[in-house]
């Protein structure tokens, strides 16, 4: 119980008025950063990092990590209100969050998203507090085959259950993979699919595709139905927070599963984005209302948000204990640690007790502060939907353009965003599913890298994917998930045959 004492010491370190003030500033800034697509947590932290050099390291890391929490919270806002995911891991939140907003349930969706984020983060922090050394070692088990199996599992848990025509699912997914392959190939260093056009070298960033497909595409769709967003009738009532809270306990099982998925993927540096997709896929499969997912189910918001935040938070653990950044944001924080003269790595917990436990304490406090701030703003956020369409639409287009530009500081990306917008509109109308496209775009090149690294290691022997219990288990689970619908159909078929025979 030495850890508990250390934690309370940490609270004492974190709970000075100055640090509390920094927490509030950090969370508020973070929310703003999270709302603006293109300004990710990594940007915010990178930009503010120099300002913190004059502070004591503990205060600095508290403020910076609070920006991180704030950004995690903020990402959900635009996804739900405008179908524009501010952060990669909020894409899955749009699937049910945006339909809810359209039905006038924006407040409910936002409350559920914020609360689930909080729960996810809290569970992850508790895990960090008590299991840090144990869990950190687990991250080391992950070599290329294990990474591939995680991505494989993510794909398998997500596909195979779409209602769209199968050829269209296939085409959309392959388009995603193809776009992901553009640019330099990690394994051979060759440029692929750029046809001598050097502007394409940086590849198609998934955020640009998503801002276009979802954000611009949605505006075009709304326009077709007339000059308004259908969410205008949103009731704006502070009570919505409590009404939603009353509904949440029902979904404890979804929450718990998503926490597990999130923590696991956060530790294994799989990241928040796969975690959110996987949790959504798993929830869809296991929920009683699975078939209704995508039409505005509360569970469909809870699952990805919980997982994304559990992952985002537990991603800090490998960073602190091993010196491996679990996300780009963590990577920038890592740079900060170095500048303050702290050396992340296995010895940090021994040499810088104050710092580590102060940080962990600030994770608890920062999340609580964040939750309070964003929840009080729910009515305010929901009220944005009441702004007349002819004002909000051009502003959204501007914000989308900014978001697309900031990803790589490239003008071409704004044009690409527009093109993706048109594609998003056409695809949606023709029932091409966007989710597999986006998923393939996010994970496609990572999965391919991991696969080919594994092949190099095994000299082309596919058995490496079943060479130990960890990788074999994940691959097996993935295959099971992939074949499950077929199995269901086969049973259905048998039953019908039997019925026909009788």
């Amino acid at each position: 119980m030495e850890d508990i004492a250390a934690l309370f010491h940490g609270f004492a370190v974190a709970l000075t008025p100055f640090n509390l003030l920094l927490m509030l500033i950090g969370v508020s800034l973070g929310v703003i950063i999270g709302v603006l697509p293109g300004l990710g947590g990594a940007n915010g932290i990178a930009i503010l990092l120099p300002l913190t050099f004059s502070m004591p390291p503990t205060s600095a890391i508290i403020m910076l990590s609070c920006i991180y929490w704030g950004a995690l919270f903020g990402g959900a806002i635009t996804s739900i209100l405008f179908n524009i995911p501010g952060e990669p891991w909020s894409v899955a939140t749009t699937f049910d969050g945006y339909p809810m907003a359209q039905q006038g349930r924006a407040g409910e969706a936002l409350t559920a998203a914020f609360t689930s984020s909080f729960v996810g983060a809290l569970v992850a922090v508790i895990m960090i507090t008590f299991l840090a050394p144990l869990v950190a070692r687990f991250a080391l088990q992950f070599g290329p085959p294990e990474f591939f199996s995680v991505y494989f599992l993510t794909f398998c848990s997500f596909i195979g259950m779409g209602k769209e025509p199968p050829f269209k699912i296939m085409a959309a997914m392959m388009l995603g993979f193809a776009l992901a392959a553009v640019g330099i190939d990690t394994v051979t260093g060759q440029l692929r699919l750029i046809f001598g056009w050097h502007e394409l070298m940086r590849g198609f960033d998934f955020l640009i595709a998503v801002i276009g497909l979802f954000g611009i595409g949605e505006i075009l769709l709304s326009m077709e139905e007339g000059l308004s967003f259908s969410g205008r009738a949103a009731k704006i009532n502070p009570k919505v927070v409590f009404e939603t809270w009353a509904k949440l306990p029902r979904y404890w099982a979804t929450s718990l599963r998503s926490c597990l998925v999130g923590c696991w993927l956060g530790i294994t540096p799989g990241g928040a984005t796969p975690a959110s997709f996987m949790a959504y896929g798993v929830a869809k499969r296991l929920s009683k209302h699975g078939a209704k997912f995508g039409t505005g189910q509360l569970e469909g918001v809870i699952a990805p948000e919980t997982a994304a935040h559990a992952a985002g938070t537990s991603a800090l653990l490998p960073m602190l204990s091993l010196g491996i950044p679990g996300s780009p944001t963590a990577a920038v924080l890592l740079g900060g640690l170095l500048i303050w003269g702290l050396q992340p790595g296995p010895l940090l917990f021994v040499e810088q007790k104050d710092f580590v436990w102060g940080l962990i304490a600030s994770m608890y406090l920062g999340n609580i502060a964040g939750l309070i701030i964003v929840l009080t703003c729910v009515p305010l956020f929901a009220a944005i939907l009441r702004v007349p369409f002819s004002i909000i639409a051009p502003i959204i287009v501007v914000i989308c353009a900014i978001g697309a530009y900031t990803v790589h500081n490239a003008m071409l990306d704004i044009w690409l965003m527009l093109l993706f917008g048109v594609a998003g509109y056409v695809f949606k109308k023709l029932a091409y599913p966007l989710a597999p496209l986006v998923l393939a775009l996010v994970l496609g090149d990572r999965a391919e890298d991991a696969f080919r690294q594994s092949m190099l290691m095994a000299q082309g022997d596919l058995r490496i994917f079943f060479s130990n219990w960890l990788v074999g288990g994940m691959m097996g689970l993935g295959l099971l998930m992939l074949l499950w619908p077929l199995f269901g159909q086969w049973r259905e078929y048998l039953r019908k045959k039997e019925a026909a025979a009788l």
Binding site: I33, L36, N43, I47, P165, F167, K168, M170, A171, M174, L175, F177, A178, A181, D185, V187, T188, Q190, R192, L193, F195, I216, I219, L220, M223, E224, E225, L227, P388, S390, I391, A393, P394, V398, A401, I402, Y405, T406, N409, M411, I414, W415, L418, L419, G421, V422, A423, V426, F427, K429, L430, A431, Y432, E448, R452, S454, M455, L456, Q459, G460
Partner: protein, 174 residues
């Protein structure tokens, strides 16, 4: 992927879904073909130590071609989406274009005069012509939003946004 003019439209007024289906599938088929072509150039076989650079893209391209060909086939055979359905009627299409064309002009504007100026004009123009707000309100709001963006990105977060080929705001020193 682009919204190139679909060939056939029907009396009911609007692009037919059938035409749109086929047009999109043809574009996808062409993209798939491009992918196959370039992957083949890179080397698309399974080498001694695993797949070459073009191995996965090659098959991805092939599957894309196959899937889009299948979509074309289904559409022509009259299965899939309803045969006579209308993809978009003329009136809504006009509305869609009334957003899409200003958005395209806006992006062109960014290229020329930079994001901030283009944003102010875009918002003001959109409000004036599509929202029928007064000139004063439109211009004020456009300027305010653009100025807020400028302060947030250039001044506070120090994220330089695109200033355009002519950079009319260069006197601000950012």
């Amino acid at each position: 992927m682009s919204e190139s003019p679909e060939p056939s439209h029907q009396e009911t007024g609007g692009f037919s879904t059938r035409g749109a289906e086929i047009a999109v599938a043809i574009v996808l088929f062409a993209l798939g073909g491009l992918v196959v072509y370039d992957s083949h150039r890179l080397g698309s076989s399974w080498g001694s130590d695993g797949p070459e650079a073009g191995y996965f893209p090659f098959y991805i391209g092939l599957i894309m071609c196959f899937a889009s060909a299948a979509i074309i086939g289904q559409t022509l055979l009259g299965r899939g989406a309803g045969r006579d359905a209308v993809f978009v009627q003329w009136q809504p299409l006009r509305q869609v274009l009334s957003v899409l064309i200003p958005a395209a002009l806006f992006v062109l504007g960014i290229q020329l005069v930079g994001l901030y100026v283009a944003a102010a004009i875009h918002i003001a123009a959109f409000m004036r012509w599509l929202g029928n707000y007064s000139w004063l309100k439109s211009v004020v709001l456009g300027t305010v939003v653009s100025a807020a963006a400028f302060l947030t990105f250039e001044v506070w977060f120090q994220v330089p946004l695109y200033k355009g080929a002519f950079d009319p705001l260069s006197f601000l020193g950012y």
